[in-house]
Symmetry: C2
Subunit: 214 residues, 2 copies
């Protein structure tokens, strides 16, 4: 069965977005620094239809991850770019534009029923039966490839707590944000050991950590 991986960039103080998120600034104050290591890479730029970019070890991390994933699960806020958009207009098309950088099926965990949204080379499918059902559908779509849970924090926590995540990949960024969206809220019963299976340094000081749930 397809392996399920959750992957996200986190500050040393545990945040995956900074404080004061808005629709215009969905990463919050300082949050864009979480992704600097990735956005400068060749692989990232290609996904976004851009040329150029760095080809160092950070690019290798991106280049290894992207083709391994056959389908993506994300939370509603990650689709709509924060709190505002969806609530104002349930048919808004998120903030990913007319050429989203995913290029594979995306399953959005949401409370709002909606027909699939086809855009460019991909389809967003909206799943109202919870993260387990979203992962199940993504597994069918991924075939032999991995299912990637790409955020936000809530979707990753729900998947972890439901025992759905085989591998957790954290890009630990040498940064204190002082507030924002925590990857890990407090959660009764979450206590578990992980197995640290790989570790790679980055020219940008980011530490790429992979953990297997046991």
């Amino acid at each position: 069965m397809a392996k399920v991986t959750a992957e996200i960039s986190m500050s040393l103080d545990g945040f995956v977005a900074g404080p004061n998120q808005t629709l215009e600034d969905p990463l919050g104050a300082g949050g864009e620094q979480l992704h600097e290591w990735a956005v400068r890479t060749k692989t990232f730029r290609e996904l976004h239809g851009q040329e150029g970019g760095d080809t160092d070890s950070d690019d290798e991390i991106c280049a290894a991850s992207v083709p391994a994933i056959g389908a993506i699960v994300m939370g509603r806020k990650m689709f709509s770019g924060g709190e505002g958009a969806w609530a104002d207009d349930p048919n808004a098309n998120g903030w990913w534009g007319d050429d989203p950088p995913f290029h594979k099926p995306v399953f959005v965990v949401t409370h709002h029923e909606r027909e699939p949204y086809v855009v460019a080379d991909m389809t967003f499918t909206f799943v109202t039966d919870g993260v387990e059902r979203a992962v199940e559908l993504a597994r069918e779509a991924a075939g032999e490839l991995e299912v990637g849970i790409s955020g936000g924090a809530s979707a990753i926590q729900q998947a972890l707590d439901a025992g759905l995540v085989d591998e957790l990949r954290i890009h630990l960024v040498p940064l204190l944000l002082g507030g924002g969206v925590r990857l890990f809220d407090e959660a009764d019963g979450r206590a578990q050991r992980l197995e640290q299976t790989s570790l790679q340094e980055s020219p940008t000081g980011v530490v790429h950590l992979t953990f297997r749930t046991t």
Copy 2:
């Protein structure tokens, strides 16, 4: 001037002690797992008057840190072993016993005035003027050596926020505790970049990270 380092073991979800701390269990549920990498080492056992212990790379981490530090700053809870002891008896002698493992001057940040407490080969000095004053006194005591802020979370945060910490050493343990005492609470104005200056893997899956504040 003496370098000030803060050093602590933290779970991947950001906790330095587990939930439900008590005087008998000051590390909280599951919290002892944060320190397993250290307590099994030769250096740690020697500090506690015990023989034997492992001599692998985790021991090298401990063996490098201990002689570099000339004086220690800690918070009141770390001295007294949690919330209960001191509040019940302001003259209680903490939970470090009659042969504390520090073997160098310790400055305890507290609201309770108290005469210095001399025990075995060391003295606990109680500082009621805040963490800056405690660090100042520790600097005088440390001479050319480092001042080590060894916890708890509150003392480290206060020192970080006051700009007193030169180097932050985090032992990142592959573990989710799901609750307890966070190293990093939310704090307005804490946002800062750090420089990741060293990284060492452990046979136990712990990642030893050193950051310089910039």
